[in-house]
Symmetry: D2
Amino acid sequence: MMLTGVIPPVCTPMTPEHEVDATSLVRLIDHLLEGGVDGLFVLGSSSEVAYLTDAQRALVLETVVGHVGGRVPVLAGVIDMTTPRVLEHARAARAAGADALVATAPFYTRTHPTEIRTHFRILADRGGLPVYAYDLPVSVHTKLTADLLLDLAADGALAGLKDSSGDDGAMRQVILGRPAGFSVLTGSEITVDSALAMGADGVVPGLGNVDPHGYVRLTSAAARGDAAAAKEEQERLVRLFQIVRVGGSRMGGSSAGLGAFKAALCLRGVIDHPTTALPQIPLNADETRRIEKLLAAAGLL
Amino acid sequence: MMLTGVIPPVCTPMTPEHEVDATSLVRLIDHLLEGGVDGLFVLGSSSEVAYLTDAQRALVLETVVGHVGGRVPVLAGVIDMTTPRVLEHARAARAAGADALVATAPFYTRTHPTEIRTHFRILADRGGLPVYAYDLPVSVHTKLTADLLLDLAADGALAGLKDSSGDDGAMRQVILGRPAGFSVLTGSEITVDSALAMGADGVVPGLGNVDPHGYVRLTSAAARGDAAAAKEEQERLVRLFQIVRVGGSRMGGSSAGLGAFKAALCLRGVIDHPTTALPQIPLNADETRRIEKLLAAAGLL
Amino acid sequence: MMLTGVIPPVCTPMTPEHEVDATSLVRLIDHLLEGGVDGLFVLGSSSEVAYLTDAQRALVLETVVGHVGGRVPVLAGVIDMTTPRVLEHARAARAAGADALVATAPFYTRTHPTEIRTHFRILADRGGLPVYAYDLPVSVHTKLTADLLLDLAADGALAGLKDSSGDDGAMRQVILGRPAGFSVLTGSEITVDSALAMGADGVVPGLGNVDPHGYVRLTSAAARGDAAAAKEEQERLVRLFQIVRVGGSRMGGSSAGLGAFKAALCLRGVIDHPTTALPQIPLNADETRRIEKLLAAAGLL
Amino acid sequence: MMLTGVIPPVCTPMTPEHEVDATSLVRLIDHLLEGGVDGLFVLGSSSEVAYLTDAQRALVLETVVGHVGGRVPVLAGVIDMTTPRVLEHARAARAAGADALVATAPFYTRTHPTEIRTHFRILADRGGLPVYAYDLPVSVHTKLTADLLLDLAADGALAGLKDSSGDDGAMRQVILGRPAGFSVLTGSEITVDSALAMGADGVVPGLGNVDPHGYVRLTSAAARGDAAAAKEEQERLVRLFQIVRVGGSRMGGSSAGLGAFKAALCLRGVIDHPTTALPQIPLNADETRRIEKLLAAAGLL
C-alpha cells in the first residue's frame, strides 16, 4: 500500500454533552467518500485525539472502519507520550481493523534523536501495521529531521511521513532522498499544489473535512499536469482557510482551528453540532457568521 | 489536609522486561517511609508516568496505596493531554484511594490561559479530590503564571502547587499572594532551603528517592530555624544531584535523570534493577561507576 | 523599483586576519553579475553582518556600491536590535548609495506586535529609502505574521518582504493579500521553484553566491513557464545545498552554513580565503573535501 | 576587585525627544550613591542599551564615569551580537574609564557552546578589562550552563557572572563550583535574600533604580546574618515589583518593565521624564496612577 491522494484527518463530531456523535461521524465519512477522497486518517490532531478518552477513540475507530468497509484505507493516529503507551493504542487500532498507524516522536519527556529512532523502530517491530511518522513540532516540540526520517525509511521502519511542520524545504529533502515506496504526505492546507509539484504523494488537510471536493480537484489537476488549475483551486482554498483565524487571540489555536472546521461542517449540514471537546472555547455567533461568509465566498453554501 | 514536608515523587522500579517491579516498589516505599517522609507523590514525571500504560499506572497506584495503608497521604499524578483524559485518570486515582490529584495544564494542543483555567476548574469540580497544579514548563511548554494560579487558588479550584518550573521568583509571588491553606511545594532538588525560607510548605524532590533522610534533615533543620544546618545539608545534596548529569548529551534529560535515580537506588540496594522504560537509553557501566562515586562522596554507600 | 529575479545575499570575504578582503569581494561581485543576477543584497545574515563592525559594514557597502556602479540595485541590511540603532545604519546605507533597506523586527528586547509596527513605520518615515521586512525567526525569535506584513504593506510602510522563515504557507498568504507593487522575495535556497509558482517575485539565496548561474537558470525557466526545467535545476541545487550540513553538530549553524559558502567560493577560485568571522569555527580539511565532492557532483568544478 | 553588594543597572533617562537626559542621569547617579550602592552597571538591559546608538552609549558612559569619579566601580555593558562588535564596545568602555565589562553570549547568529567559549576567551584576551558573563536567556535565547561558566572561571577568562536567568538552582551550581575571587551577582529583584544566603556576592536589580535604599538594607541585613530582616525587606520589594506588570499584555515586557522604572523615578522626583526609547509603548495616565499607588504602598512617596 503506497498512500497517495487526499486523505483527510477526520473531525470527530460531538454532541453538546461532549460525547462522540456517531451519527454525524457517519455522515461526515459519507461526505468525504462522496467527495472522492483516497483514504481517511482518524484520531489525528484534527480529530481532537488529544481530547478523546480511550473509549471514545475506540468508538471513533470502530465507527469509521465499520462504515468504510474497506472502500479506502483507514489510518489510525496512535498519539501518546511514549512508546509503551503508543503500543497500547497500536494494539487497539490493529484490533479495530485500521490499515496503518500514524505516530509522533515522544513528547512531554525530554527526548533525544537516538530515543526517537528507538521509538519508531519498536513501533515498527511490535505495532503490527505500517507506521507513518507524524511531524508536528507545534505540538510535539521536536522537529523530525530529514536525516532521521531517511534513516528510518532506509531500514524499513517507516512506511511514510505526514509532514505538518510547515517546513516544505525540509520535506523536499525527504522526498529527494527517500527509498521507493516511502510515501510523503503534506499536512498543509495551503501549499498542496507546490508539495505535489515537489513530488509529495498526497495531502492530509484538516480543511479537507469542509471541502473534500476542492482538494480532490486540486490533486487531480496536479496529477494530470494542469498546474494552473491546481494553483487556482489552491488559492481558493487558501482564502477559505482564513476560517481558522476567526477565533483570533481570545482562544488557543486548537479551539480556533477545530472550532472553525466544525462550525463550517454544521453550516454545510454535514454534522449536527459544532461542539468541540473541553476545555476548548466555542466560537460565538458573530464568529460563526464570519465563517459563514467565508464559506459563501468559497462557493460552499 | 495541608501538605507539608518531604513528599518524594516515587520512582517506578521495573524488571528487565519493562514490567512494574512491585516487590522493589514496596521496598522503595519502605525506604522512603523509614526515611521519615511526610507523603508520597506517585505517577509524576519522576515515576516515568509518561511511559506507563494505564494498567501499569493502576498497578503502581494500588501497590503504593495498599502498602502505605494511610500512614501518609498519597498524591496521584493524572498526567495527560487534556481535561477528558485527565478526568479518566482522576477516576482511577479516586477508585484506588489516592488522597489528592496532581495535574498539569493541557499539553500537545495549542492552549490558552482561559482554557487552562477551565481545565483546572472542571478537574476540581469533577475530579472528586483536592487538585494540585503541576507547573513543569520543560514538559508542558506553558508556564503557569502567578496570576493564573492565584485566581484558581482564590476560588478554591486548587489546593496547592507543585512548582517544578525552576523559577523561584515566580513561586515567591504565589507564596505571598496565596490564600490560607493553599500549599506550595517546590519540585526543586537544589533550592529547597531557600524555598522553605521563602515560605514554601514542602518539597517534592526526585532525588529524595535516593536520599530521603537528607531531605528530611534539611526540612527539619529549616523548621527549627537552623538555616546553617539546612544550607549545609542542601549543599551536600546539590553535589549529589550531579548524578543526573552523568548521562550527558548522548541521551535525553529524562534518560539521564531517571536512569541516575534508579542506578543509585540499585547501588544502595533498595531496588533490584536500574531499568528505565522504553525508549530511554540505559546508563552504561562507566556511567554507573561515576554515580557510585558521587553516592560515596555523599556518604550514601 | 519592483524587485524581481535573483538577488543574492553577498558573502563578505575576509583575510586570514579577519579583515574585509575587498579584492575578493570585488571578484565575487563580478562572479555574481557575470552570472546574471538582478540585484545584490549586502549586509544580510549571509554577509555575516552580525559579525561586522560598523567600519567593516561601511567598507563592504562602499566597495559594492562603487563597483556595481548602478548596473543592478543594491539592497543594504540594517540589522540591529531596535529602531534608533537601525536608523543609524540606514543613514550610513543612504550615504553610501544603497537603493533600499532590509530590516528585521526588534530583537534582544522583549517586543510586541504594536512595537514591531511602530518600528517599521518609523524606519519608513525616517530611513529615506524603500524598506524591505526581513523575516528570520531563527535569528530574531519573532515571526512576522501575514496580518502584520499586510497592514504595513497597505499603508506603504513596506516595499516588500524577504521571507527566510521557511514557512511558505504564511508567505503565500502575504502573496495573495498584498497590494500591487509589493515585492515578495523568498530567502529559501530549496523551494524557489514553488515560491515563484505561488507568485513570489524573486529569490535571495545564500547558495546563490556559489552558483548564481544555477539560480538564474531556475528563475528564467520559471519565468518562461517551463516548470519541469525549473524543478530539475532546483533539485540539483537542493543536492548542492547539502554543503551547509557538512560542519554538522560540532559547530553552530552559522559556522556551518557560511563556512560552506566560503569554502565553495574558494574552491571555485572566486575568493582567496575561506575565513569566517570570530567566534565561528572553521571547517577542517576533511569537511572541505566533502564540500569539494558536492561541488563536483553539481558540475561546479 | 571582587564585586559585592548592590550594583544597580542604571536606567538611562531620556528627554521627550528621545535624547539622553544627562541632567536627570546625574541626579539618578546621586540618588543611587546616596542610597549606598556599591557599584553601578551602565549600558545593561535596564539601561535600554539595546535602544541606544553608539553615540548615546558613549555619552551615558562618560557622564556616569565622570560624575562618579572613582567613588564606586562602574561596569559597562558591551551588548552586541558577536565578538568583533563587542570588542568595539569594549574599546569604547575602556577609553571612557569603565572598571569592567559585562557581555552576553553571541545572539542573532546560530551559535554553539564552543563558539561561546571562544567568544568570552577572546574578549578576556583583548578587552583589556575584567569580564563578567551576562546570562539573560530571555534576550539571548541561550542559557549559559554551569559547566561552561565554571570552565571559563577556572581558566581566568571570566571575573564573574551576572545571572538574570531566573534559574537560581543553576546559579547555585556555579556558586558551589567557582574558584576563589569569582563574583556571582544575581540579576533578580525578588530572590535576593535567598541568592545571598546561597553565597551570591551581590545583586544587580533593575528595581534598585527606584529603591536603592531598600536593596542596601536587604544586603546589609543579610551580611549581618539577620535573615528575618532581609526577608521582610525583600517581601516589600516583591510587592513593589508588581509595577512591572502594570503595562500588561498591551505592550512588550521591555516597555512594561523599563516604563515602570522610569515612571516610578519620575514620581519620586529623581528624573524629569518617563520617556522610553522607540519603538517602546509608553505607559498611560491610568497605568501611571497604579504605579503611584504601589510606590505609596511601599512607603516610597
